[in-house]
Assembly symmetry: C2
Homo-oligomer: 131 residues x 2
DNA sequence: CCCAAAATAATAATGATTACTGATTTATCA
DNA sequence: TGATAAATCAGTAATCATTATTATTTTGGG
């Protein structure tokens, strides 16, 4: 795969971010550098990069799809109040998957897992930016 | 909540189904009984019923949202070839959730979990209807 | 340097879902 | 039972994220 200026910019924006961005967030950050970049380019490259495994595309039920610089983490937590996404590092559902495969004969290739709840800040009432 | 004819019909369609239906599938089945029912009514009632916990609304990444008559099952498997959805009954990720809550101080209320892979039939090459 | 393949910007199209509107049904209670 | 307010409806328009299209530009290998 070629790495055009736009593709490199998009990857670097995601890499230097705290973690998870929506396509629109990437688009807005990209326009600060290249004001002519188009939203279609952002989508095309985010999808291309996730297809080759450089980043991960994560569907968040009830919210916009996010793109994650870490291609290998799989479990996420979403605060229902502030919307922030956190990773569950180190956790794995291998045992559940193994058990399911043995019982059913199905083969599992990937998983989409999102836990929903209140983050520490929103729980205690501290101010938590973002809708 | 009131149970209008339309709402009851929608609930009974889901209850008598094998398990998971999209809004459009519910709409088509509903029109067989009441040819004047509108798609908006189907959406409104599916959402209303899932909000009070009578059914469950499940986001399937890369596919249409489905509505599940079983309000309490949480884990699902989706075949990437035929698109069929299966339940993972009896499985639970309580341990992972407990661990995450203790480590982070967050509170988890619900989870959305979809495993993706090949079902037994598609794996062995048997004919598997549906896209 | 040239040329085919890949990538781009800009815009149109798509498709699921929600919002709106005015009409109809249902619940409540005097 | 009859009136009145609240809930729900059908039909349609609007929204919003995402993808497709197209004509143009960039790029890397020979």
């Amino acid at each position: 795969m070629n790495y055009s200026k736009q593709r490199s910019l998009i990857l670097s924006i995601l890499s230097s971010s705290e973690g998870h961005l929506t396509a629109d967030e990437v688009y807005n950050k990209a326009r600060e550098v290249n004001e002519r970049i188009s939203l279609g380019t952002v989508y095309r490259n985010l999808n291309a990069l996730s297809e080759v495994g450089e980043i991960r595309r994560i569907n968040i039920p009830g919210a916009n799809t996010i793109f994650d610089k870490n291609a290998h983490k799989h479990l996420h937590f979403r605060c229902i109040k502030c919307g922030k996404i956190q990773d569950l590092s180190g956790e794995s559902i291998d045992k559940i998957v193994d058990n399911f495969e043995q019982k059913t004969g199905n083969k599992v290739y990937s998983n989409d897992i999102v836990l929903n709840g209140l983050c520490k800040n929103c729980k205690t009432g501290e101010n938590c930016v973002k809708a």
